[in-house]
Structures are given as C-alpha cells and as structure tokens.
C-alpha cells in the first residue's frame, strides 16, 4: 500500500492506482472532474484534460514537484506523493481554460439539448465557465444524423472523449463507428452512415458526457428535471435488467443505466450493469418493469428541483 496526500487528506491505496481513483476513495469535492475517463471502460482517459492536478511532491524518494500539471486519470500514485486539486489556484485556472477550450466548438444550446440537467460539461461550465465566449471564428457545425433508428448523433456537441468508441470496442462484438480525420477535423462517424445495431450499442448514450449521443425515443419528450427517476428491474436474457426508469406520472419516458455520482454505470453483484437495447428502447410500459423505489438524487442536482426529498443524512441514520 502506498500513502498519498490529496488536498491535505491522507489516503492509502494499492500501488498502481491513479490519482483520480485515489481521490475517489476519499470522495467529496477532492475528486477532480473527468469528462473522458470512465472507470468501467479500459483505456479511457487522458483526452479531455479537465482532471489536471498539481503534484507538489513526486514521491518520498524524489520529493521534487512535477513541473507541469498532470492528468490525474492516467498518472499512477507514488508513495509520499502530495497532490493539490482544489487547494491549488493553478489547477483552478487551468481547468477554467480547459473548459473554455472544450466550449470553443460546443454549441450553447442547453435549452434544447436533452442532456441538460445531467450534463458534465454543463456542470463544468457552471463552475469554471466564463459568462461570455472569446471565440470569434465560426464554430464548426454538422447536421444531426441518425445512427441506427434509436440513436441521434449531434456532432456539434461532441467533445471527442472517445468513451463511445471504447463502449463499442469492449461491449459489442463489432465496432462500426469511430473517430474519423485528425485534429480539428476529427469527428465521430459511422462507416458511410452505417447503423449501429448491436444489443449493447445503446450504452454509448449513457457514457456520453455531453448531449452528442442521445436517445431518439426520448428526444425532446421532456426535460430530465420534470421526470422522476425510479430504480427498476426486469427479467432480461441479455443484460442484468437493472435500470433506472424516468417516469412522469405512470408513464415511462426513458430508461437509462444506473449511474453513480461520477456518471458511471454502477456495479451490481460485481458486474457493471450495462443495459441492453431492448430494455433501453423498447420497454416503455410500466408493466414490463418491477419498480423498486425512487432513486436517490443529489439534492443540489437540478433533478431534485421542486421535489420534496428526505435529507440524505436523516435517511442514512434511519438505515443504521
């Protein structure tokens, strides 16, 4: 076990753990935000640069600080490492710059976008963003296209995090989409608009940190903060059948995987509970689901607006 100090909090972790995961073991606001890293997808991370942290001391053996900020999602910890995240002004300034950079081509169409309310870029922009844009050039624009009959791709909003590519590689048997071209021309695309149809391809919607990949069966139906997320399960031969159904009254508007506080699909019984396309797109009737109960929502989330929630602390006391 190695000892690291993140924001003056000491934590012991396995050797080889990344700084981000060590911070997640502490939890709370020590955790750097991550737009591209997804712990359930191998090889993800290192692309968006929002998780940059300052390393004030490299290790006990070599306590020199690292000259540049490092990406916490892909830097392993060393014994005696001292990391500064929220206590470092450099990190804050750099994160604000990264946010501005990510928003260069990202349209500010949150009032239209279905991801609004659960969008990580929105959260990041809220914390670090500027009020206006300094970008004067023309933003690159694409028309929204259908990839498959259930998924809509808004390339305008994509921040090239590669998460959906990893999903296709690791969850489905054949990847038919990827990133074309290089640099500023890079875009997510399918081979000649080939449809993505695989039982687990719908998970690209869940992993997308922004509203680039959205559910066509939910497109413009409602806003997330008007819906009530309920934990539900069903008998499914393809997946574990553990999902969150977003309800309005008795109607199911959409189905997503169960995401934790980092926006990642939760592990259930030691396995990541990805849901299959049939559960996601076709089971929109209440009778098809066994509704277990309401999902715990962070009370600072917009989804908790206008809803009366039991205080989490009181709830946890009750459980004990």
């Amino acid at each position: 076990m190695v000892k690291v100090i993140i924001d003056d909090i000491e934590v012991e972790v396995e050797p080889g753990t990344t700084i981000l995961n060590a911070a997640r073991q502490i939890g709370g606001d020590v955790v750097p935000p991550a737009m591209c890293y997804y712990s359930k997808l191998q090889g993800s991370g290192g692309k968006c640069r929002t998780c940059l942290v300052e390393v004030a001391a490299g290790s006990t053996a070599d306590p020199r600080p690292m000259p540049k900020l490092v990406a916490s999602c892909s830097t392993p910890v060393m014994d005696g490492m001292i990391v500064k995240n929220k206590t470092s002004e450099r990190v804050y300034d750099n994160r604000a710059a990264v946010t501005e950079f990510l928003l260069i081509n990202h349209p500010l169409d949150c009032p239209i976008c279905d991801q609004a309310g659960e969008c990580h870029l929105q959260d990041l922009g809220f914390e670090h963003g500027k009020e206006g844009t300094r970008y004067e050039e023309k933003r690159r624009t694409f028309d929204p296209i259908d990839i498959g009959d259930k998924i809509k791709l808004h390339m305008n909003r994509c921040i090239l995090c590669y998460r959906c590519v990893y999903v296709a590689n690791q969850l489905t048997d054949k990847r038919v989409h990827g990133i074309m071209h290089r640099g500023d021309h890079a875009e997510i695309s399918t081979y000649i608009e080939q449809a993505i149809d695989n039982d687990f391809s719908g998970n690209v919607i869940d992993v997308c940190p922004v509203g680039a990949l959205t559910d066509k069966t939910f497109r413009f139906k409602s806003r997330v903060w008007f819906l009530k997320p309920m934990e539900a399960s069903c008998e499914c031969t393809k997946c574990a059948g553990k999902a969150v159904v977003w309800m309005f009254g008795d109607e199911i508007y959409r189905v997503t995987g169960r995401k934790d506080k980092y926006g990642e699909i939760e592990d259930i019984d030691g396995k990541t509970a990805w849901i299959c396309n049939e559960c996601r797109f076709d089971k929109k009737d209440k009778s098809q689901w066994n509704i277990e109960g309401p999902r715990v929502i962070n009370r600072h989330s917009v989804i908790a607006q206008n809803q009366y929630l039991v205080d989490e602390r009181i709830e946890s006391k009750k459980l004990n």
């Binding site: 500010l108 949150c110 009032p111 239209i112 413009f220 139906k221 903060w225 008007f226 917009v302 206008n306």
Partner: protein, 179 residues
C-alpha cells in the same frame, strides 16, 4: 395589567347630554364632511373609461415573444416551469420539421404552452429564468372570467400575433439573449 401600547380605552357608562340625545348635531356634522368631499380631489379612477398608467416593469399578463423575423423564441426548455413557484406553467415540446424554420427559431419548440392564470402569482421568475427572451410579463391585466377553464391560457392567447407586437422594450430584462 398596564397597557403596553398606551392606547387602551376604558369604556365608561357616561349618560348622554340632551344635545347628544337629539343626534341632530352629529348627523349634520357627518353630512357636512360628506359634502366637503364633493369638492376634493378624487383618489379613484373611473375604470375602464380612464386607465391608470403602469410602471414599465409592471408584472401583468404574459406574452410569448417572437423574434424580428416573426419566429417564436420559445424552445420549451422548461426553465420557466421549474422556476415557477406556483407550478402554473406546463408545456410539451416538439422537434421542428423541415420547412418550419420560419415559424420557430430553434430546432425544438413548444407545441403546447399553458399558464394557469389562477395559479400564477405574477412574480416574474419565469421571465427571469428564460434564457431565450421568450416569455415576458406585460402591463396588461388578466381579465376575469366566469369559468375556471378560461383562466388557462394556451399558446393562442400567449404568443404575440406577428402583426400585433407587444412592446416590452422598457422592461429590465431585455437584451440578454446570446447570439
């Protein structure tokens, strides 16, 4: 106990004098006051012949604005509804189809938009929440009706007609729509 406000009056059973028993001086005194008011300045207006001038930021009946080209500004983002403390606003949204670009400004629009004027408390939070400069409160008064259903204003009553624009230029919250 001693009165704290010092305004307590003790009721007395004092006998009225002869003049007071006549009541006539008191009646005449009252009529004189009434007569004097005929020549004083009136505090009320004869509505609806005369209308009181409103402050430019008066919060009356809502309007859903159109832009310069006559397209509806509202994109049904739902922020007004979530900001509304009285839960008066409901809406459903729809995707703009090809050929409707001259009707709606953005690719999503409100297919229905209803404000329940009985629930509305005219606080103006919807106007404040709107990111698209679509909803404004105006200096128009919501009239009274006999039926409760008449108070539910749909898009037919809320959206301003293209040829009959509602002037909101004097309000405080104009000019914040992002380009």
């Amino acid at each position: 106990m001693e009165s704290l406000s010092n305004r307590k009056k003790v009721v007395s059973n004092k006998k009225m004098t002869f003049m007071e028993k006549l009541y006539l001086p008191a009646i005449l005194g009252g009529m004189w006051i009434t007569f004097k008011h005929l020549f004083k300045k009136h505090n009320t207006l004869k509505y609806p012949e005369v209308k009181r001038e409103f402050a430019p930021v008066y919060r009356g009946q809502h309007v859903l604005k159109r832009d310069e080209e006559g397209r509806e500004n509202c994109t049904a983002c739902g922020l007004c509804a979530v900001a509304c403390p009285a839960e008066a606003i409901t809406m459903t949204s729809e995707e703009r189809k090809k050929g409707e670009e001259n009707l709606y400004r953005e690719e999503k629009y409100a297919s229905t938009y209803e404000i329940n004027m009985l629930r509305c408390i005219f606080c103006g939070l919807c106007e404040e929440a709107c990111p698209k400069e679509a909803i404004f409160l105006t200096d128009r008064i919501v009239p009274t009706y006999f039926e409760r259903n008449d108070f539910i204003y749909g898009k037919d009553k809320l959206v301003e007609p293209v040829d009959q624009r509602v002037d909101i230029s004097k309000r405080q919250l104009t000019g914040k729509r992002p380009a």
